[in-house]
Amino acid sequence: MKVQGEHLFKGTPQQVWDLFRDTEVMSAALPGTKKMELIGENIYEAVMNVRVGPVAGEFSGQLVISNENYPHSYTMTVEGRGKPGFMKGVGDVILKDQGGNQTSMEYVGEVQIGGKLAAVGQRLIDTVAKSIINQAFEILDNALTERVSADAEGREADYRKSSERDYAATVAKDLIKNVLKRTGSEDS
């Protein structure tokens, strides 16, 4: 499965870069993250609950950052497995300074999934993945704003942790929206 997209952050490339390397922020932004820690140079270990339609369960795996070109680009390699199957992905992330304290993030990658996740969740996974990414970006947007203003005010940043439930609810909404779009009855 190809994962591709772009998002505009309100911050400098350096700020966005740092945000993405902060395990506390990242685990707040990704739903169902039970654990995320740095276990070696540029190697993170994570445990996450994943739910795609009827398929749910815990995934554990590693995230490795390579090809670092601060603060412009890096490569992310993810490998995880759990009861619902496995996933393996490689992607490139590019940060571009858009001026006016704005940074665009482009990401493109290939994710391979297997097991129950692929067999039963295939129909849903595209929408679920997009929904998760979009929600994560939304939270990261807020986190970035909070971090920038906390820095300016010289206080500790306070991140709102996303609840798995809110996440699941939004994913479900996105799924339904997608189905309605497909059947052409979105506005009815």
């Binding site: 009861k83 496995f86 097991g115 129950k116 692929a118 067999a119 039963v120 295939q122 129909r123």
Partner: protein, 782 residues
């Protein structure tokens, strides 16, 4: 011979039980003290197992045991090679690699079994499966039929030099010579994809080793109970009498349930002997998608040489057949393709090269049609393309090439799936073809309806395709028929029943021969306690091979009845008749004796049975044909395609079937209906999507589409009868026929409905999406 009961539309005697939930299926078997198994199956299509840790799973309350290949010790051995390569052909390469009970080191397809949990119930067993931890080393998967033969391809079986499973060439005449004289040569490449058999009842097993009785009782949703009994006994080091296998009512077989031995069939009997408790496992739908065999993926490079007039001078083809991760079923399926790629036509020169490859996908074995739909698809599509090139009517090119009735028996000079000569025993193709054209209203459709509907903006098309089917192959089947003291008849045959109405149609044969009512005959199928020898229900052979064994046994019993009655009634045998459960003198009806009384006399409690005779009115007979009986038929359809949505509606569907003598037309029609439904699945709905890592992406009935009532057209079935010359009943098989020509007819109709696109469809199944892509491609090239 004029029949009174054979050939009548007798309602199925098994239906009341089936329709009221009174029939026994494997899942209905529940024994005291019974345990339940669940399997850990590989998520990966190709991976090395580094470590398996079952310790956590074993701690769950209710878990009785967790086992891996290592635990099986010496009992671990691959399944048997079911079908060896053809011994009569020269220069055959065949690398036999068979499925294993539990994977030892390397997983070769997703869904392969790595460990089994036995627990007090299935819930606990499934939960415990999730607690087994596994370390894999994922390997690149072998998926593509052509790339897998490239030198740098990963290997499914690392002890082989390549992924080549088999290679052979069959030919008749001299294709090169034919090519030299040809006016037209057409070359096309075809890709036919995989589908599932998707029987409504998944596989299932209940095994019960009784230590005191030293006996293994097995209920197995199999098409082949006797070979399963033989194999289980031999794998466990038991005598055959120590194992009884019952295939009770089975909810659809379609071929995959003839595969032996599935891993589960190797693991469960071993488990029950270890645990000395009954163990049950019922396959769930997702397991079925991974673990139950599939069929149909082949790539064909085809050449057809023709004369200007449209006469086929020769056919040449190279077939690549995907056998999946193992090849236990030998070459049955692709040999069928080879022998059906000449269709119903008189082809003098034929060259057919077969390459079979291993891939990291589910094992391939016959699925209803078994290689035949591919062969018919090839030859019928090629004729459609040839007719277009030569500016001939598609009907004319077919009429020109049919094997004429006087040419039978027609020897094709190659071998078929049974390794015997491919001889078409009988046939009369032209009248059947003309009848189908007449019934579908071909001329009227082309001349009036199609132009009218096109003017209304509707895209309607017609397709009519003839086909042949080799049926009723050996080796043999048997039947036992006995008259009970009550006068009722008990009979048994070794073939299992998966919906074929054996209990009715075989009973009709016996009722005809012994002069009783169908209801007086109790037919047992699929129980090894009732008959010792047999092979199974497959290859459209029940009515031919088992049917004729039933007939032979019934005739032998009739002879015994006549001999005994002649003495009792003091009337010569040839003046006796069997009617209404009585034997009577033909001209003096009151001089009679009932079959029950005769049965009692034949089993005396005192005195002596005459030397040279046997007690009872019972007989066991076998039938094995030298070569098969060739059925044939024609399917025609009128369909409409909506070029906006690509949805299809079939307005009319006509089949002409010739399966020789029909035992029961209702049953024949039922088989055709079911077959057409499967065939339509193979045209437009049922495709298994594997990704490049060997992951099946639509392993559920929500994503894998099976035609349902709303996709099914009304089907008109017309019967022709060219009796099979080589069996007493004159029967030919019809179980697979319905599925065989459907994709060929469907694509012809689809092209006919969309003439402005000038489509040349060389693949199946299509789908609305795929048809859209094909039309877009044509649009761009316009």
């Amino acid at each position: 011979m004029k029949h009174k009961i054979i050939g009548k539309r007798v309602k199925r005697v098994e239906d009341p039980r089936l329709l009221t939930g009174g029939a026994l299926f494997v899942d209905d078997v529940n024994l005291p003290n019974m345990l339940h198994a669940a399997f850990l199956r590989s998520d990966y299509a190709h991976a090395r197992i580094k470590n398996i840790d079952t310790s956590q799973a074993k701690t769950i309350p209710g878990v009785v045991g967790v086992y891996t290949a290592e635990d099986m010790g010496d009992a671990w051995e691959p399944g048997p090679p079911l079908v060896s390569p053809p011994p009569t052909l020269e220069n055959v390469i065949f690398n036999s690699r068979r499925q294993v009970p539990l994977v030892k080191d390397k997983v070769k397809h997703a869904g392969e079994i790595i460990a089994v949990v036995v627990a007090e119930n299935r819930y606990i067993a499934e939960d415990a499966v999730e607690e087994i931890s596994l370390e894999y080393e994922p390997l690149p998967a072998v998926v593509d039929l052509e790339k897998c033969l490239e030198p740098d391809s990963p290997l499914v079986h690392e002890d082989l030099d390549s992924n080549l499973a088999a290679h052979l060439i069959q030919q008749k005449g001299d294709y090169q010579k034919a090519l030299a004289t040809a006016d037209l040569v057409i070359k096309k490449r075809f890709h036919l994809d995989r589908g599932a058999a998707a029987a409504m009842e998944n596989r299932g097993l209940v095994v019960d080793w009784n230590e005191k009785d030293q006996h293994l009782m097995v209920w197995d949703a199999t098409q082949s109970p006797i070979p399963i009994r033989n194999g289980m006994a031999s794998r466990l080091g038991l005598r055959t009498h120590q194992v009884r296998v019952v295939a009770p009512f089975v909810g659809g077989g379609f071929g995959p349930k003839i595969m032996m031995f599935y891993a589960e069939e190797m693991v469960l009997p071993w488990l029950t002997r270890q645990l000395k408790r009954p163990v049950k496992w019922i396959e769930d739908r997702r397991e079925n998608f991974y673990a139950t065999t599939q069929e149909r993926e082949q790539i064909h490079e085809v050449e057809m040489a023709l004369s200007r007039e449209g006469r086929i001078l020769g056919i040449k083809q190279k077939i690549i057949h995907d056998t999946g991760a193992y090849d236990p079923y030998g070459l049955t399926t692709p040999l069928n393709t080879q022998s059906h790629s000449m269709g119903a036509y008189d082809v003098e020169n034929y060259y057919s090269e077969l390459t079979v490859v291993f891939t990291n996908k589910t094992i391939v074995t016959p699925v209803r049609g078994a290689g035949r739909p591919q062969g018919i698809f090839i030859v019928e599509r090629m004729l459609d393309f040839a007719a277009r090139e030569l500016d001939l009517d598609p009907r004319e090119i077919r009429r020109l090439n049919f094997i004429p009735p006087e040419a039978f028996p027609y020897n094709h000079e190659i071998i078929d799936q049974a390794f015997t000569d491919l001889v078409f025993d009988s046939g009369n193709y032209l009248p059947a073809y003309n009848k189908a054209l007449e019934k579908i209203g071909y001329d009227k459709f082309i001349q009036e309806e199609q132009p009218r509907l096109r003017a209304e903006g509707k895209h309607v098309g017609i397709g009519v395709v003839p086909f042949i089917e080799t049926t009723g192959v050996g080796p043999y089947e048997g039947a036992r028929v006995a008259i009970e003291p009550s006068g009722k008849i008990s009979a048994a045959t070794g073939v299992g029943t998966q919906g074929q109405s054996h209990m009715t149609s075989f009973a009709q044969i016996i009722a005809e021969v012994l002069g009783v009512e169908v209801e007086d005959v109790s037919m047992v199928t699929g129980d090894t306690a009732e008959i010792h020898w047999g092979t199974g229900t497959f290859a459209s052979r029940g009515a031919v091979v088992a049917g004729n064994a039933v007939n032979a046994a019934a005739l032998d019993v009739r002879q015994k009845v006549l001999a005994l009655a002649s003495k009792v009634l003091k009337t010569p045998e040839d003046e006796l008749e069997l009617e209404g459960g009585q034997v009577r003198a033909a001209d003096i009806p009151e001089q009679s004796i009932s079959l029950g009384e005769l049965a009692i006399l034949a089993n005396p409690f005192r005195g002596a049975v005459e030397p040279g005779t046997e007690p009872g009115l019972e007989s066991t007979k076998y039938f094995g044909p030298a070569y098969g009986a060739t059925a044939f038929g024609v399917h025609g359809m009128i369909l409409e395609v909506d070029p906006e949505t690509m949805m299809i509606k079939i307005h009319k569907y006509v089949t002409v079937e010739d399966c020789g003598t029909m035992l029961n037309p209702l049953v024949v029609e039922g088989q055709i209906h079911g077959g057409v439904s499967m065939g339509l699945g193979n045209c437009y709905y049922e495709k298994l999507h594997f990704d490049e890592s060997g992951q099946l992406l639509n392993a559920s009935l929500a994503d894998y589409l099976i035609p349902s009532a709303s996709e099914m057209p009304h089907i008109e079935v017309i019967h022709e009868n060219t009796p099979a010359p080589n069996n007493a009943l004159g029967t030919k098989g019809v179980g697979e026929a319905g599925a065989i020509p459907v994709p060929a007819a469907f694509m012809q109709a689809l092209e006919n409905a969309l003439p402005e696109y000038n489509l040349e469809i060389t693949e199946t199944p299509l789908s609305p999406n795929r048809l859209y892509e094909l039309l877009q491609k044509k649009e761009r090239n316009k």
